[in-house]
Amino acid sequence: MSSVRLPRSPKVLVGVGIVAFFAILTVIGPWLAPDNPSATNFLPNLGPSGSHWLGTTALGQDIFSQLLDGARATMIVAIVAGVVATVLSVIVGVAAGYLGGKTDDGLSLLSNVFLAIPGLPLLIVIDSYLPASGRSNSFAIGLIISLTGWAWGARVLRAQTMSLRNRDFVEAARIIGESRRRIMLFEIAPNLLPVLASSFLFTTLYSIGAYVTLAYVGLTSTAVWNWGTMMYWAQANNAPLAGQWYWFVPPGICIALIGTGLALLNFGIDEFINPRLRAAGLSGKVRRASGLPRRPRLGYTPVARRSPGRVVVTPARPTPSSTNVGA
C-alpha cells in the first residue's frame, strides 16, 4: 500500500487545475499580455475581435492585456495576505488555546475585537493613510488585508487546540517534560493541519475579495493593474450601462473561478491530510464499479456478493477449494 496517495476525485482535480492555472498566470501573465495594458494606442470602445480578444477601454487600452497583467498583483496580494493571516492566526489561536488563563483572555479579547470591527471600513481607513508608494506595493496591501483576516482562523484554531490539549497524548508529552513550544508545534499543530489548510484557503479567498473591493473603490494605485482596477475603470466609464460586458465580466469570472478552485481544493486537502479519511479506502470509482452505495452509511454496511455463482459451502460437507483469501 502506498503511504501517500493524492486525492483523485474529479472535484479535487478540477480545483487543482484551476488554482494551478492562475498560479501560472501570476508568473507569466504580464509576459503573455499582447500589449502594454496602460498604453492608449488603440481606438476606444472596440468590441471583442481577433486583434483585441476582449475589446478596448474608453481610453483605447487592450482589455485582454489588462486581464493578464492584473492576475499578478491580485494573486500576490492574496497569497501574501493568506500566509500572513494564517501565521498570525496560528500564533494567536494555538497560544491562546494551549496556554489558557490570562494569555487566553488577552488574545481572545484581541481576536474578538478584530472580529467585531467591520473589516472593509477598517481597511479603507488604514489604506487611505498609506502613501502613494505603499498603495502600489502589493506586499504592503497584502499585509494590511491580513490584519483584518486573521481573527476568524484564530478563533477556530483556539477551539481546536483547547479540545486537543487535554488528550492523553498531549498530557503524556507534558508529563515527560517536553517544552511548551515543542508540544504546540509538534504534538498539537499537526492535528490542526486540516483546519489550518482550509483556514488558509478561505483567507486567501477573502483577501482576493478585499483587494478587489479596495481597488474597485479606488483606494489602490491605478498604476498597478489588477482585476479590481479594471472594474473601477469600467464602472467609471459607464461600461455596464453601455453594454460593454467584455470590460467588467472577465475579471469577475476570474475572481469567481479562483474562488471555486480554492473551495474545491479544500476538499482534497482535507482528504490528503487526514490519515483517517485517507484510509477509508474505497474511492468513488471503485464504489460505482462494484455497485456499492456512493457514500458509506453508518449502520448500514453494504452487501455486495462478489461472485454469486461460486460454490456454496454447506456446513456439513464443505469444499476445501472455496476458502482462498482474496480474489
Partner: protein, 380 residues
Amino acid sequence: MDSATTNLTVDELNDTVLEIEDFCVDYGWGETAVRAVNNVNLSVRRSRVLGVAGESGSGKSTLVYAVTRLLRSPGVISGGSARLTYDDPTASDVKRRTVDLMAASGSELRAIRWSQVSIVLQSALNALNPVLRIGHEFDELLKTHRKDLKKEQRHARAVELLGLVGLNEDRLSRFPHELSGGQRQRIMIALALALDPQLVIMDEPTTALDVVTQREIVNELAQLRARFGFSMIFITHDLSLLVELADDIAVMYSGNVVEWAPAGDLYSAPRHPYTLGLLNSSPPLSGERHELVGIAGAPPDLSQPLSGCSFHNRCPFVLERCSRDVPPLRILDSSGRKAACWLHDDPTTVPVALRRVALATSPGEPAPGAPMTLAREEIR
C-alpha cells in the same frame, strides 16, 4: 419470550434466533480487499449463549458487526446471509418473523435494532454521552421505543432495570464519569436489556475490567439470561471465561471458524490445535498448575494470499498436506462438534492432546463448574 428457559422441547432446541450462513466480510474492494471473515456458518439458539473466541484480529468482532450491519466502511459484506427470527411484538397474536438482515432496508433494521438485537460494547465510557445523566439515557431510549409509557412509568422501568444489574436507583442522577468501570458496564447491560431483546451481543464487555468485576458481571449475565431467556453472542479472547457462560463456543482464527463445540466439550477436549494452544496459554480454572505455553508465531497477514490451513505455520502437529489444502469445517462425531483440521482425517494422526474424551455434559446445558475439575496435559 415469556416461556421459561427450563424444560425445552426438541423443537425449541432446534429453534434458532440467528442463523449465519457462508458469511464473508471484506475490508476494501477489488484487488486490495482483505478477507476478514471467511465462509462462516454459525447459529445462535434461542435462549442460549454462543461464545466466540479468538485472538485479536481473528475476525470475531468483524463478524458480529457485519451481521448486524454495523460494520464501518471500508467493510463490505461480500457473501452469505444472516437471518434473524424473532417474535413480532406488533402482531396481535405472538407471531414468529424471520428477517434476512442482508436484505433488510434501513427502516427494517431500525425497527429490529435494540428492540430485538442489542449490543454491549467494550468501552462503556465511550458509549455513554458524558454530558447526559444516566437517567436521561434510559429515558431517551424508552421514549423512542415505548411511546405508550408515561414519564413515571419510564422512570419506574429505569429503576427496575438498574435493580436487575445490581445498581441503586440513585445512579440515575449521576454522570458517566462519576461511576466506576464496572458500574458503567452494568449500565450498558441494563440499557441493552431495556426493551427485552431476543438477542444481546456482547463485544468483549468485560475485557476492560478487573477479574473480580469480570466474574460478578458474568454471573449476573448468566442469571439474567436464565430469568429473561434472551440469547447472547459473547465475544472474548478469554476462553476460560466463556466456558462458564456459553453453551456453545466457536473458535475463530484469521477469519475462519476453526472449531465449534458445546462449551464443556471444547474446554475439556479440544479438537483443533489452535483451541488447544489458546487453552494452554491461560491458567486452568482449577486442578494442577502447569507451565503456560503460548502459541508461537503470529497470525497470518490476511492481505497476502494464503495456501492451505491458515494455522499451519504455527501448528505443532502440522502435516504435509496442511500447507497445501484448506481444511473444511466438518462434523467430527455424534455430538455434532466440528473442527477444521486435517489431523482428524486419519485416526492415527490425531495427537494425544486432541484425543481426549469430553466429560459428559448434556448438550446445550450451561456448563458451570464442569470444567473446573479438569487437569490438562501439555502439548506433546
